[in-house]
Symmetry: C2
């Protein structure tokens, strides 16, 4: 039961010598803590004064239970309490009993452990007398944990003509306080973490609470032949959700990617939609948001610094010196850290006493022996900085001549971004971060982030980034903003977790509208074959933005909406998309027959060929010798079953940006192939794809300004 | 009146054709908006139905005034309402009248403008009848804006022995919800922006509200001879504040720097204090906090990308092409942006019609003519990445051979960090960002961030970073965390703004304890001569950590506490620092006679010599030819009056880290001199100072891990 409804089972423990006042204070604190649903208090009879009892009086929805005895009844009661999610103050002995059971109910993400030392208990009769009360209140609490119907209040829009600039429209609308929005869509108070007044991170514990809740309808918005400015799809997503929620009064949620600051200050400007179909406040959406991309940058560059520092240290130290530094004696004791024990396991060394390793084992433990020419990990910045496309590092005298050519990518191209977008929980993200391959050793073995000892730190840096950010549209409908991989050089879809949370929140009859980047040939193909494969989710409806072509291809299945449906969301907001919303609603009620384009078991070359032929319309593919060699290497390393993430221009179905329309009669050249083992895909490079955009002569930052008195921003559009 | 107490003057406007229901909805929304203190409603008589009147009934502390007439009385009433901070719904005509007046009262930081179109009004009698009510409620509201006495609730500490690890201690304490803490210390709800449950940014509007409030006592904690691990001072600051607030029951505030992630994952570990004197949750303090350093990194690197891209564009385009790109024709109109007009002014060009510039003017406008060898701006990362100490950029073929040697610094060494720490408001920060010198032209003229057109974007990127972050100590006392410049390579003090906000909040009898980085020779000297000069604040008490030496030097003045006072805050929390707190309280009650070590008018060389002789005990200084040439250049550019920020090792009073104690008989070599014009100081380089730390063989990330189930972090210490 506890596992199912996500009750909080927590042990609160007081020191043996604590005074009555201290106990009271502790209990008062519990009463104020929204994560505490009841207190089961095990106390010496002497402390049961009137004053105590007064304070222990149950608050609304919570219970303080005074109970005692360590005999069978006492333990039975405690177990019951635990199943009901009570907070238990109890003796050391029963603490141990509970500890075990607590470990089997790990839905209590936010709880605090404090270890307990208590004296003897009171009699079981006292306990029995209060039992009914406990059960009632915990049952009330359990009801509060169930799915909550929405009470969404739409924001009125009064569109002006001509349509003002995006930032003027955004500023003219007052967003609802984000805690109010969260309450309207059925989030519990403890499930959100506000970041300012208009953004909140949503905790993943929601997935536990609503585990039994059926998903809503899953709608994909994809496009074809985007312009270099990329407008269109996000605006359709937002307009559609505004129409569904504010006009058709259906629960609905938009899921969008967080934009990179590169384009924001470069050519494209903001990415929060446009006109009367926007996420607001658009400047919060376009700037730092809740810091996820910054966290990715920090994590990515910690790996990079660790790689170069490690190569230098290995090159300048003997095995023994390396070993004594990597496993130092602390107060006379040498011990492997858990991350190091994991590496020993991978090396097949079962010994965990540092002094017992054989010299050969020491050597293989301390030497990653990374080949500088085979480091595939790059540094990143979230800025369009073209001068970092190819650089030489290590030129200071302190690096003793260990120079190396490398590059910076834009932060959203980092494998860590792809992992954030594909992970289905904190544990999964941590595992993926650990298995990221950063290069290979001189003997050809892959070297991972875990080998570098950095995987725990990466998970720590990313612990908040994994929670999607809740915002709202101009009409007050909810939006998740989470992850932002580019679609040409990465898999181009917002996060699996945001979609999953939203599908639970909208309820069975609701709609979640998510977006695949760039054209259907890349964003949508990757949505189906990479994102859906990772998430296990299947779309019910696909909306194609712009002219419709022969696109019922990628595994067929979901209902493709023929967009003869006119949309005026840009000029009119949700009201302009009501027809589309009705069409989506209609399509969502029909069964869909989704299937993947290829099976994971298909060999790498065949998978690439299927995408090239069936999606791009190529005659065939042509592998460079490098690409062929990589395929052989990946097969040998056991990576052959990973899905394919093509890195291809988004401006043509082919590899040549200038070939518009539906080109035929071409052979797709595969220049090279790389692997994102943590993210879980193989990515072939088709033609020349830059992973670092540049700034134009007149970047949009020329127009961006801040009034220091009103704090109003101008020039973001 | 409005200007002084910060009343909200807002115009809410409805479309001419709105229905009664729409009006009611608008008014209901206003009633729920905490920023709205009253509504002055100007309506056609027809809408004054009973239903309307019912909804317009004043809520507690707010007033809805139904009033009309555009004659003299109507306008007079509106003006009165405006002075009282009322929200005014009124006709278009009076809207214009008010608009002007609103512009003269810009204390209403958080308000929203919506433009109004209304029909005729009701008679003035109706207005007069409700007048008294309005005045009463606005006066109630004005009272709420005054200084609020604290109601701080301390958290109980039960120190264990032996003392557990820092993260265990931090985790064992449940912090108060940050909104509760904010309320306890007299912050208004609208003055905070929560970031999660335990951190909140505090808005600078507080300084307006408490302008008339006298400052508390200002206490500086400085140290001498720090160990490379830097422990000591932060812990004293926190222990002292815990003692003052939780044990002596005096209002007090700690002001600390945000730690760089470089040391956190490198050698030092966390920087949130230690033992039972910590800021909690320590992992939140040590990781991304509220993203300020990330914002600095993004802003700093945008400048860097703009520099290299601009040099490339100037090198590859003729004047005409540059001009047509920099000032493009949009819908047939060419216009300079405000940032470009500012540049024209600096060039002495008064023309603002792009087509009217002479060819020579076009050329000087489009060409910054930056000398690649004289670019002083560096890129930054907040990672200990030694391989970026010296690099070559621009090696990709797309950069056409424009390679250049440069370097990355650690993010906290960025001039933008120094600006954040020294700015006294958003306007001041923006001005400083614009005047940052990034290098010089081939003709020797300084080139600024504003010349690059990027100053507005920088202010936008930094708009949230300028608000200090509120956290708490283990005993629940308030802490501001804000800015984090290193003290050896920068000025090493937390922000002026955090200190100013805290001094207002603690009230006249309260204490603000702030910290200067590293030893008194650098952190404290810079506190006096740079930070105090910028802020106008003067310390009342100085606490020196560690053995006391002959340190009543740097301008003398404030009471130097002889630390014979034993402290046990690490093992016992605030209770262990009560004696120190009493000594500080005593010292704070005595008058102080602060004076600067040097006058700004003193020539650069003399200022450096005074610091070297009077603070470090050097016999004299010795300038390299480069240093002498720079001094001549800075004097010529008018930078001679700036204060001095010595970049010197923190491990010795001299320039040689190995010289311990009080070295004498040495001459201080000044290798080079640089200038941070935006931050406002000249910084001489003494000996070799690295601006990028490295990772050791076994960085502390080996110990850092995250339990994906409990979300508990281990290994941060």
């Amino acid at each position: 039961m506890a596992g199912k409804i996500g009750l909080n089972v927590t042990q609160i423990c007081l020191p043996r010598e604590c005074t009555e006042d201290e106990i009271i204070e502790e209990v008062l604190k519990l009463n104020e803590d929204p994560r505490v649903h009841g207190v089961y208090l095990h106390l010496p009879p002497a402390s049961l004064t009137n004053k105590c009892i007064l304070y222990y009086t149950p608050m609304e929805g919570r219970t303080v239970l005074v109970v005692g005895g360590e005999g069978p009844l006492g333990v039975a009661l405690q177990c019951l309490m635990q199943r009901r999610g009570m907070v238990v103050l109890h003796s050391r002995r029963s603490s141990e009993v509970l500890q075990k059971q607590v470990c089997t109910h790990r839905c209590m993400r936010a709880h605090t452990h404090i270890h307990l030392h208590m004296m003897s208990g009171v009699g079981p009769l006292t306990a029995a007398l209060r039992m009914q009360n406990v059960v009632q209140s915990s049952s009330r609490w359990a009801q509060g944990q169930q799915y909550r119907p929405w009470t969404l209040r739409s924001l009125k829009l009064q569109p002006l003509s001509p349509v003002p600039s995006d930032i003027e429209i955004s500023r003219a609308q007052t967003p609802k306080p984000v805690d109010q929005l969260a309450q309207e869509i059925g989030l519990l108070q403890e499930e959100t973490e506000a970041y300012g007044r208009t953004k909140a991170k949503v905790r993943l514990s929601l997935l536990d609470r609503l585990r039994e809740q059926p998903d809503g309808k899953y709608v994909l918005v994809a496009g074809i032949t985007p312009t270099p400015l990329g407008e269109g799809k996000s605006t359709v997503v937002i307009g559609l959700v505004q129409a569904l929620s504010a006009h058709l009064k259906l629960n609905s949620f938009a899921c969008l990617r967080q934009p990179s600051q590169g384009p924001t200050f470069g050519v494209k400007g903001g990415a929060a939609g446009g006109g009367y179909a926007q996420v607001i406040p658009m400047e919060e959406f376009n700037l730092h948001l809740t810091g996820d991309i910054h966290a990715i940058t920090a994590a990515n560059n910690l790996v990079a610094a660790a790689i170069d520092a490690r190569m230098l240290h290995e090159a300048t130290q003997k095995d023994k010196a390396l070993y004594s530094r990597l496993v130092p004696s602390v107060n006379g004791v040498r011990r492997f850290s858990p991350i190091q024990i994991a590496r020993l396991r991978r090396l097949g060394i079962s010994e965990i006493d540092p002094s017992a390793l054989m010299p050969q084992e020491v050597s293989s433990f301390v030497r990653l022996d990374l080949d500088p020419a085979k480091v595939t990990w790059q540094r990143v910045v979230d800025t369009n900085d073209r001068f970092l496309r190819k650089i030489t590092v290590g030129q200071a005298s302190t690096e003793k001549g260990h120079v190396r050519e490398t590059q910076f990518d834009i932060a959203v191209a980092s494998e860590i971004m792809a992992i954030l977008a594909l992970a289905d929980g904190l544990g999964d993200m941590k595992t993926r971060l650990g298995r990221m391959v950063v290069g290979s050793s001189r003997s050809g073995q892959p070297v991972t982030a875990e080998d570098l000892g950095v995987s725990g730190a990466l998970a720590v840096l990313m612990k908040d980034a994994i929670k999607p950010t809740l915002m709202q549209t101009l009409e007050g409908s909810p939006v998740f903003v989470h992850a932002g991989p580019f679609a040409n050089i990465a898999h181009g879809n917002s996060s699996v977790l945001a979609d999953k949370l939203a599908l639970k929140l909208v309820g069975e009859d609701g709609f979640v509208v998510t977006e695949a980047g760039f054209g259907a040939d890349i964003g949508m193909e990757k949505f189906f074959n990479i994102k859906c494969r990772a998430s296990g989710l299947r779309p019910n409806v696909v909306v194609l933005v712009a002219t419709v072509r022969a696109l019922k291809m990628h595994g067929g299945g979901p209902n493709v909406l023929l967009n003869a449906v006119p949309c005026h969301h840009w000029a009119r907001g949700g009201r302009g998309s009501v027809e589309l919303a009705q069409a989506v609603k209609q399509a969502g009620s029909q069964p869909s027959h989704f299937q993947f384009l290829y099976s994971q078991e298909t060999p790498i070359v065949e998978k690439i060929r299927m995408i090239a032929q069936k999606v791009y319309g190529a005659d065939d593919i042509e592998l460079s010798p490098e690409a062929q060699a990589k395929i052989d290497y990946y097969n040998q390393q056991g990576y052959g079953k990973l899905p394919i993430c093509m890195a291809k221009t988004h401006l043509s179905l082919s590899h040549l940006p200038e070939k518009k329309g539906t080109p035929t009669g071409f052979t797709l050249p595969i220049r090279d192939i790389r692997a994102s083992i943590g993210a879980g895909f193989i990515y072939p490079l088709v033609g020349t794809m830059s992973t670092m955009p540049g700034l134009p002569t007149r970047p949009c930052f020329y127009d961006i300004d801040l009034d220091p008195v009103t704090e109003e921003i101008t020039g973001l559009f």
